[in-house]
């Protein structure tokens, strides 16, 4: 078949060099310093000259239309060079400083905010939610849109004490790895899967279903002569792995699914070591399309932090300085039994001193 092209495999990604702006090639490994000209506009300087990066938000769930709009702007202002950041922002890479303002104007006309640099709330790292995931306890794109509509002002400015990294994961599988974010919204299931004993024997392979549970909570059983499974409810962590292999074990529970709010994690090594996020609010209801309870909770935490933290003090560093009792006091968040850890390293979280502030 002469017309058929050769099937290629294992070629790996294209080499990045072909996508580098000429200034990035010339200054490669030889950059001297960078400056922030204004929120969302960075200038990196090396011997070969200065490269201007204009950063804007994206919905992350982006259509080919959106991407073509971005590439069109890159062609118009950035010689066709653009990149994405680790937090789903788009960056246009400009050699000509005079192109910054016209590019910003075009972005403004498209209602795409410019910002996300330094002491801002950058774009939100998030998961798929109801758009694409089988185990999600909430939607991610909708939550992000609802939250950021209220916080866009913090994206386009740098008025916070330090950066806030926001993340959303729609169940505790945490594809978004939200466990080291300043503020994280985590979807939670609160009830074990419901077993459809009538259809399970026909739909699911029992050994695979039993093996799917990371916590050995699923055991084979026999009901009216048919083999099915039971779930040890004390062991179930609501991860959805069993539903992945067995559609007769749906986990979604509209009555009980919702979101939890976590605070104080960080990844960078700046000043303090990386920190885990800790539980702030164990449960808020799923209330689409705008999740007002979750939005209000996040906004409240951001505002209390902004009013009280010192310059360049991250959320977790601020809380460490003032103490958790004061955090709950200032934010008005109720401390409950769910805040007390009861998993593997629970003991490491108990206070063992008289260091209380009164």
């Amino acid at each position: 078949m002469a017309t058929e092209v050769e099937r290629k495999t294992d070629i790996g990604p294209p080499h990045f060099e072909q996508f580098l702006h000429p200034l990035m090639k010339e200054n490669y490994g030889k950059w001297k310093y960078h400056e922030t000209l204004e929120p969302g506009v960075l200038a990196h300087t090396g011997d070969a000259g200065t490269l201007y990066s204009v950063r804007c938000a994206s919905p992350r769930l982006a259509s080919t239309n959106f991407i073509r709009t971005m590439t069109g702007l890159a062609d118009k202002y950035a010689d066709g060079y653009l990149r994405f950041t680790s937090r789903n922002n788009v960056e246009f890479l400009l050699a000509d400083k005079d192109n910054i303002e016209p590019l910003k104007k075009d972005l403004a006309d498209l209602n795409i905010p410019v910002g996300g640099t330094n002491n801002a709330i950058s774009n939100v790292v998030h998961t798929q939610g109801w758009v694409h995931c089988h185990s999600s306890a909430t939607d991610a794109s909708g939550l992000v849109k609802a939250v950021m509509d209220e916080l866009t002002d913090y994206f386009t400015s740098e008025k916070l004490p330090a950066r806030i990294r926001l993340a959303v994961a729609c169940c505790l599988n945490m594809c978004g790895a939200v466990h080291a974010s300043d503020i994280a919204i985590l979807g939670v299931h609160r009830t074990p899967p419901v077993i459809d004993n009538a259809s399970l024997p026909n739909l699911c392979e029992i050994p695979t279903t039993v093996a799917s549970c990371p916590n050995n909570a699923i055991k084979p059983t026999s009901i009216e002569g048919k083999t099915t499974v039971t779930v040890d409810e004390d062991k179930c962590m609501y991860c959805g792995n069993c539903y992945t292999v067995c559609p007769a074990m749906p986990l979604a529970d509209p009555l009980n699914d919702g979101v939890s709010i976590w605070v104080g994690g960080k990844i960078s090594n700046a000043r303090s070591e990386p920190m885990f996020t800790k539980l702030a609010i164990p449960y808020l209801p799923n209330n689409p399309p705008r999740w007002p309870e979750a939005v209000d909770a996040v906004k409240n935490i951001v505002e209390v932090y902004a009013a009280n933290a010192k310059p360049f003090e991250r959320m977790g560093e601020w809380i460490e300085r003032i103490g958790w009792p004061k955090f709950f006091d200032l934010t008005g968040i109720e401390f409950t039994k769910y805040h007390l850890d009861d998993f593997r390293f629970a003991g490491t979280t108990y206070r063992r001193s008289t260091h209380n502030r009164y």
Partner: protein
């Protein structure tokens, strides 16, 4: 087709200043029945407060075990456009750099073979082409490879490595993250495309301790740029900051975690022997301070999300390794780690959980690494030591010890 698109709840999310994914998907709904049905099913999720997706079955391209995530609507009769809604993960270039020409080519492929919806990018780093049916997978793959693109990882394989922009646009990069990311991805194509591990293995590379790709939270192996010698100081640039009234005491001296900076409006001195390379002072004074010249990387293992035994942040395993081509020392380390994990790890056991189960000491012994005080926050505080060396009474060596 889009005329009968009744999605009042979702349309609420077209309002407000943040870019709307609903408006964006709607812009595709006229030409893509997949996009239209995705919105219809999502509207039902918003009404009912639950998702309607099923996992199920293995789908993929010939000869690969990873790179495609199978997804099916739980309501295929109601929403036939998304009855299949598989995801294709495309291995991104190092640092997520593109030309508009290259991106447009991928968009052309995706308009022809899929929903026209993407994630730029997925959590691991891949470009995510969101939603197509089983029959389109192989044609999509072939069209991508003809343009020089390949699939990323999924399942129990080495996941697509990712890195920060590094030396391509950052003066703080302590090694060439872009090159190393490309190198590891190419070196381990088989491990990337054909799942044969106990579970996933993610590698992320950051050029400095700011860790812009969150490697310490999100990767089984975090390779973070670091330096060993003195922070470079440009005294003239420092003087210029002071002249501009920079508050050196509040913003730098008092915030240094080890108190190793002595500075006033005239001069700055750093006790580098006590500096933990946290980057705070360099970030505040980017024109005056820079990482040292003796550069390499620190390597940590074991970060992961909660499933199964709880979330972990990566633990330091190599305080300093030079990162120069052809990276033989690193390849050797990676392969030793994989071999021990492969032989002794359990199914679904990430490397961080594996190390906790077999103990760090056992892990080090079997991967040829020496125990170092840099590996722990502090030595153990319990006396339950399993001594492996002790003398019997008749040993001559014991007698000679006295």
């Amino acid at each position: 087709m889009a005329d009968d698109l009744k999605i009042p709840l979702l349309e609420e999310l077209e309002k407000g200043p943040w870019p709307s994914f609903v408006s964006d998907i709607k812009s595709m709904a006229d030409k893509s029945e997949v996009a239209a049905d995705l919105l219809r099913q999502l509207e039902k999720s918003y009404e009912d407060k639950r998702g309607y997706w099923k996992h199920g079955g293995l789908v993929g391209v010939l000869g690969y075990g990873g790179g495609v995530i199978g997804r099916y609507s739980a309501l295929p009769e109601e929403f036939p456009g998304v009855s299949h809604f598989h995801t294709v993960r495309v291995n991104q270039p190092s640092g997520w750099v593109y030309t508009s020409k290259a991106l447009n080519e991928i968009m052309d492929i995706w308009d022809e073979h899929g929903s026209g919806l993407t994630n730029m990018h997925g959590s691991t780093g891949d470009m995510v082409l969101l939603g197509t049916n089983t029959d389109e997978l192989e044609p999509t793959f072939q069209a991508l490879t003809q343009k020089g693109w390949d699939l990323g990882g999924s399942g129990s394989d080495m996941r697509t490595p990712s890195c920060c922009i590094g030396p391509a646009r950052c003066e703080w990069a302590c090694y060439d993250t872009m090159d190393l990311c490309y190198n590891l991805t190419q070196e381990y194509q088989d491990e990337l495309h054909r799942p044969m591990f106990n579970y996933k293995f993610k590698i992320k590379m950051s050029g400095c301790p700011n860790d812009c790709v969150a490697s310490q939270a999100r990767s089984d192996m975090a390779i973070i740029g670091i330096w060993k010698d003195e922070i470079q100081i440009d005294k003239d640039a420092y003087a210029a900051y002071m002249k501009d009234g920079f508050n050196i005491k509040d913003l730098v001296v008092d915030m240094c975690p080890t108190g190793c900076i002595t500075a006033d409006e005239n001069d700055i001195e750093i006790d580098d022997s006590n500096c933990v390379k946290c980057m705070h002072c360099i970030a505040r004074l980017p024109k005056a301070l820079a990482p040292g010249k003796e550069r390499g990387a620190t390597i940590s293992l074991g970060a992961k999300a909660p499933i199964v035994e709880g979330a972990l942040i990566a633990q330091n395993i190599i305080p300093f390794m030079e990162m120069e081509k052809p990276y033989e020392e690193l390849h050797d380390l990676i392969e030793r780690i994989w071999e021990f994990w492969d032989d002794h790890g359990k199914a679904r056991e990430r490397i961080g959980e594996f190390i906790e189960r077999v103990s760090l000491a056992t892990f080090l012994e079997n991967t040829g690494l020496d125990p170092l005080p840099q590996m722990v926050q502090e030595p153990r505080d319990n006396p339950y030591i399993f001594y492996e060396e002790y003398y019997a009474e008749e040993d001559e060596e014991a007698a000679s010890d006295e």
